[in-house]
Symmetry: C2
Amino acid sequence: MGIPERKNREKQALRERILGAARRIVMREGFGALSMRKIADAIEYSPATLYLHFASRDDIARALCEEGYAQLLASFAPAAHIEDPRERLHALARAYVAFGREHPQTYRLIFMEDPSYTGAALRSAQQNGELDEAGDAAFRMLTDALDALKASDRIPADADSAVWAEALWATLHGIVALSLTCPVFPLAPLETVVDTAFNAWFGAPSTSRGGKPVDVAPAMRPSVTAARARKRKAPSS
Amino acid sequence: MGIPERKNREKQALRERILGAARRIVMREGFGALSMRKIADAIEYSPATLYLHFASRDDIARALCEEGYAQLLASFAPAAHIEDPRERLHALARAYVAFGREHPQTYRLIFMEDPSYTGAALRSAQQNGELDEAGDAAFRMLTDALDALKASDRIPADADSAVWAEALWATLHGIVALSLTCPVFPLAPLETVVDTAFNAWFGAPSTSRGGKPVDVAPAMRPSVTAARARKRKAPSS
DNA sequence: GTCTATAAAGTGATAGAC
DNA sequence: GTCTATCACTTTATAGAC
């Protein structure tokens, strides 16, 4: 029974060639420039052949989104091992923004083009694990870190981790998306903006190792987070 | 010399009809569905005529962006009169998000489509005033409020208002943009996300004020599948 | 100024031969 | 499984008649 397996492998291989060519076109010319003919030309097959592997151009776009999203998740891996939740979150934030800047067309395709594309990417990430409420792994990385921060009293005790995670994600998306589309954003270095937002959310990093964050201005009214942000300025990187 | 003036008026009037038709198409079907032919059909002129008024489809798109951006700025006006800088900022934030949600296609066109469109919108707003560095009026509304907060010690003294303003804008853009493109965002009510982000930035609202406390219903998150069920139409711009 | 007519170049997708 | 050939459109933009 080796022949059907070989045929299957060959079919799979062509599928990969199609996706590879499509990915290269998107990276170089943007998703708008992706057409079935262009892909076919690139791999030296006829356009009709593509339809043996993908039902439509949208189908190819969604497959690219799944790939890209997996790549984004993979870029979080180094951060996952950082013990301190604040540092971990910061590393995640930097990784997220870095991915968007390094793969602008891919990021656009996944998160700025079409809801069905974004949906395909997100769904692909949770189709293997059990489908609990919170959903995908990356989101849980955020909520876990936020829970840890809450447990160690570094964000307000009544903070809803899920909502904070959503808002935090939106912030990072906003920084990436705006920097990809708005010619005058950011004026300040991108990392300064990221760090400014991060410090506004979670306060300036604690100065002394192991020490609890210093209470600087006990008389101020704003919440713990805002009060802690009072400490210092944003470093780049 | 009244005749040239009348002709000029008539020419201007047709220009407005073109833009009006274009705007309606974008609002109803999205920018992707905007074509010269469709505009021409809508106003019962030939496609060729459009080129007497606009050099290209991009040119029309940019004009729409300028209109839309002016509309966005206008929606800030009520907030401008609020005295307390924190309340003012909060009202601005809500107005920004409301505009994006109420005119999704217009918001997309201005801020999520093409850098040249975004640039056209931003440039149009400052072409009358003096062109100082900070740029447009809306941005200055942010920095002014932030400066006031800093003066009354409600944000860190060393905060760079310009950078904070950029980061804050990015946060709001992220919330709007993600909610327009990501099927599962937000799970929590949109206003909860906005308020959560706002309170993370500026602390919980002043205690004795009638304002709403931060976190409302931590447990009411709808399930992912439920959130996914709602499909995305193209409502009004 | 506005029209008709058309150029020139795409597009996604499919039928049917091999 | 892959091809050729093609359908049935779409698009922006322009030339030249009136």
